[in-house]
Symmetry: C2
Subunit: 220 residues, 2 copies
């Protein structure tokens, strides 16, 4: 066993250390060790069980088309690697996972994990919360990615209805405009910024914009 206090690890937090040890001795598990800069898993590698980071820092990365890598998130001590990909039909790491320091990982194979989860209702609920949380996070992001397009459309219509010689003066604040559109203020700001960044409109001064690509706005 590792010499790490398991009840200091997020997944086991609040559970008596002896109870954790007792639970774990009833199942098969491994402690995996990695050195700084080791690749713990490649995108596409099969996931055969649960990997909990016990010590050190992992980062998840994606290889971009350009060959550069893009850091996605940090998995600090206590986090489960790719938790929503252990069960279900797609059991492969969706990203590369790299050790950013010396790392210790508790590995529990799927069948043993099922045993552990039926043994301990707190751990079961924690694991269900974890993967449900992932699904909810993804659902929210997908929803925003889709509905942003609609904000786009609302804003475009507003600009086209209020322009005079390609110039639009906003007589209301972004906050009021977001209430008028029934969308969140940060979402509206983001979409407005995207239109400026993509040179569809130009910000002349606070509250005043110029339409650069009328066609684009009309066809949203």
């Amino acid at each position: 066993m590792t010499n790490i206090d398991l009840n200091k690890i997020e997944f086991f937090k609040g559970i008596d250390n002896e109870k954790i040890i007792a639970d774990l001795t009833k199942i098969d598990y491994k402690i995996l060790k990695f050195k700084k800069d080791d690749i713990v898993a490649f995108r596409g590698d099969e996931i055969k069980g649960m990997y909990i980071n016990l010590k050190g820092t992992l980062v998840t990365e994606m290889l971009k088309d350009s060959g550069e890598t893009k850091k996605i998130e940090e998995l600090s001590n206590g986090k489960i690697m790719a938790s929503a990909f252990i069960f279900g039909s797609f059991n492969n790491f969706p990203v590369d996972i790299i050790a950013k320091s010396d790392v210790e990982i508790l590995y529990i194979e799927k069948k043993e994990l099922l045993k552990l989860l039926t043994q301990d209702k707190i751990l079961l609920e924690r694991f269900l919360n974890e993967i449900s949380g992932k699904a909810q996070f993804l659902s929210k992001n997908l929803w925003e990615s889709i509905s942003n397009k609609r904000i786009d459309k609302k804003l475009a219509e507003y600009f086209l209805n209020n322009e005079k010689n390609q110039i639009v003066e906003l007589n209301i604040s972004i906050k009021e405009l977001s209430e008028y559109f029934n969308v969140s203020r940060p979402s509206l700001s983001r979409v407005l910024k995207e239109l400026v960044d993509n040179k569809k409109i130009e910000k002349i001064k606070k509250g005043m914009y110029k339409i650069l690509e009328r066609n684009y706005l009309e066809n949203l």
Copy 2:
């Protein structure tokens, strides 16, 4: 109890009917009944447990800005309602759920569900597969929604590099082009169709396109 054979229901399939009954008698559950066209849940309603459709057809719908409703999916007999929203921190229906026929639903409150899942490893694995599958489906969709934009960009560059008087003749098939871009053929076809639908390019004939909005393609 309902007079429905539970082992014919997807979630309980393959498990001995007496074992299911024995498992269920140890926990609290309810059978909820709805008539055709009843609203079973509104978007935003709190989810306090698991709802399995035992009989009839449910549909999930979203209210669009226009006031129309858009059908999202059908939950046939055996399906769990909003399965990824029972645990985690966001416990609200993400969509409206409507009965499209007379419906019977097995409702098991969260705490009782945890009991059931620790009692039966098959049901536990099934439930974990179900919510992990949801997360994986959402992840795939989000990924496509993000990476589609990049396909967009690749295609736009290809069009701009190969145009002659705004006309682009594709001398290779979509399949070959998708291999060249290192993307899937259906994704590429979808993005191509979007550009045509949004009047950024026009399809003149098979393999021949006209650029309508050069600015748009340049700024992707």
